[in-house]
């Protein structure tokens, strides 16, 4: 079968003048791979490429933060199950890998034609292959009355770090009998079960500290949500009467939020003096990917399901939350799985050897209460137009307590394994 990728790889030696995808000629400097974003996508690609090529590639990781705080697992910090330190990882071991350079800076612009990335500090990096794994950006205009300036009073905590700490501090200050509002995001967004695991962890923290008269209202723009029966069963079991989920048919839309008075007005009712308002807004691919023209008319970036190459430019790979990965959700597990594929294709194109098979996996755990963890998982293959789900697995309402506890232990093992895979 002659795919576009095989054609390009075979013709690469001839195609330089025609503007195709040249393989660097022998004797030239090492092929250059620039990776933008040191999260579950970018860091995983980096380590796979180093394993494959040792120092045969010149790899530059562009990441402005010295310390990575994982958004995945951060709900467990909120619930009091993990200290903040567990979420934090530094790039020290990555920086020491052969052929790897760390650019502690943000990418500001991508020039696809010239194959160059300009950094905020002004330096310009050229590349043979570009890996874009910038994660999400938040649409601050998507919730009327909310803004970037309001994120201290009404935190999102959907990008981990300072925001995670603000949310935790506010949760700790909610009085017994207080009111928490969680504004959930529209699809597609990072971590589909995340808002509902977060609510579970808030309820756990409140209950565990003698504040079980507090109430949590979820204002959702969606008619249903990930693992909904599992969450709702768990909420009634562990936190009876504490959590109200309001779909759009009931709340009739968010009219406006006012951070100064902590007011949220919906089509159904107005909540004044709320004790905590967690606004999780609409999300898009990281701005750098959109500004590079890789998203087209979409909020996220279309990719070739076989290779994770951008539909706009086969020298660019987009993975993780920023990509339109078909049936795959936006999760750290998914990004890490896609990273295996990206590294295989880049290794194949720049170093030769096999490109393997495209097979993607995902598994997302959510903790509802102590030792009560549920999961949803899937296996995926490239279809003609998108990555398609070929198998799925989900916790059941009838699970034993031992099963739920084993799920929790699996999730802890996954977190340790993934972060080791990313950071060494």
């Amino acid at each position: 079968m002659l795919t576009r990728r095989h054609f390009l790889a075979g013709a690469a030696g001839l195609s330089a003048a025609a503007g195709g995808l040249p393989m660097p000629a022998i004797g030239q400097a090492r092929p250059k791979v620039v990776i933008v974003g040191g999260g579950a996508g970018g860091a995983s690609v980096l380590r796979r490429l180093v394993e494959r090529g040792n120092d045969a590639l010149d790899i530059i990781l562009v990441e402005p933060q010295a310390t990575y705080t994982s958004c995945f697992y951060s709900n467990l910090f909120l619930g009091g199950f993990q200290p903040l330190d567990v979420l934090r990882h530094d790039y020290g071991a990555i920086a020491k890998l052969p052929g790897v350079t760390l650019a502690r800076d943000a990418a500001r612009a991508v020039d696809l034609a010239q194959r160059r990335v300009t950094l905020a500090g002004g330096s310009v990096l050229s590349y043979d292959r570009l890996v874009l794994s910038p994660g999400i950006d938040l649409d601050y205009g998507s919730v009327p009355g909310w803004s970037r300036e309001a994120e201290e009073r009404m935190p999102h905590a959907w990008k981990a770090g300072r925001q995670t700490e603000i949310l935790k501090r506010q949760l700790d200050a909610v009085p017994d009998g207080g009111l928490i509002l969680v504004i959930a995001p529209p699809d597609p967004y990072r971590c589909p079960p995340g808002p509902y695991e977060r609510v579970s962890m808030m309820a756990h923290a409140l209950t565990a500290t003698g504040r079980s008269r507090a109430r949590i209202v979820i204002l959702d723009p969606k008619d249903r949500f990930s693992k909904q029966p599992l969450f709702q069963q768990g909420w009634e079991k562990h936190y009876p009467g504490m959590i109200e989920w309001m779909p759009p048919a009931i709340h009739a839309g968010i009219q406006t939020v006012d951070p100064s008075s902590m007011t949220v007005e919906t089509g159904f009712e107005t909540y004044r003096n709320a004790d905590l308002v967690n606004v999780i807004p609409r999300q898009t691919a990281g701005r750098i990917a959109i500004e590079a023209g890789l998203a087209g008319d979409h909020l996220y970036c279309p990719i070739d399901p076989l290779t994770m190459q951008s539909r706009a430019d086969p020298a660019v790979f987009v993975l993780g939350d920023a990509a339109i990965a078909g049936d795959m959700p936006k999760s750290a597990f998914a990004a890490n799985s896609q990273a295996q594929r990206v590294a295989a294709i880049i290794g194949h194109e720049l170093l030769g050897g096999t490109d393997g098979e495209a097979a993607y996996l995902n598994r997302c755990w959510s903790l509802i209460a102590a030792n009560d963890s549920v999961f949803v998982g899937g296996a995926y293959r490239p279809g003609p137009d998108k990555i398609e789900q070929v198998a799925s697995d989900i916790s059941t309402l009838e699970d034993s307590a031992a099963t739920r506890r084993a799920n929790y232990e699996d999730s802890a093992g996954w977190y340790a394994g993934l972060t080791l895979d990313m950071f060494g």
Binding site: G177, G178, L179, R213, R215, V217, Q232, E236, P240, G241, E244, A249, I250, A252, G267, F268, E269, Y271, R272, N273, A274, D275, A401
Partner: protein, 109 residues
């Protein structure tokens, strides 16, 4: 802010003859009575049996609820604004608990 168990959304003012859209929500488990707990013991039925609305003393809406209704029942209905008065919303459950919400309506024209 404390959140009461039952809330009602309706306009405070209307013109005579105007159709009012009224929405009412109560936080209630609506336990069916068909489930068992982790020790295999049946969980007793606990549902809202009746929801009724009196407008200036006259019943304008009534609904009998069953175990088929999901938790936190949300009920939307309409009535015609006839005169200034109070609407009294009453939920009664099978344990004899009664929750009442009162809303005033001013009718003009």
């Amino acid at each position: 802010m404390a959140l009461p168990p039952a809330r009602v959304s309706m306009p405070a003012e209307a013109r005579q003859g105007e159709i009012l859209e009224i929405k009412a929500l109560i936080r209630h488990p609506m336990e069916t009575g068909y489930r068992v707990d982790s020790r295999g013991q049946p969980i007793p039925r606990h549902i809202v049996r009746r929801f009724s609305v009196a407008y200036d003393g006259e019943e304008v809406f009534r609904m009998d609820l069953t175990q088929g209704v999901a938790a936190n029942p949300f009920i939307a209905f309409s009535t015609v604004a006839t005169r200034t008065g109070e609407l009294v919303f009453t939920w009664e459950d099978d344990r004899g608990e009664v929750v009442t919400v009162r809303k005033s309506l001013t009718v003009t024209g």
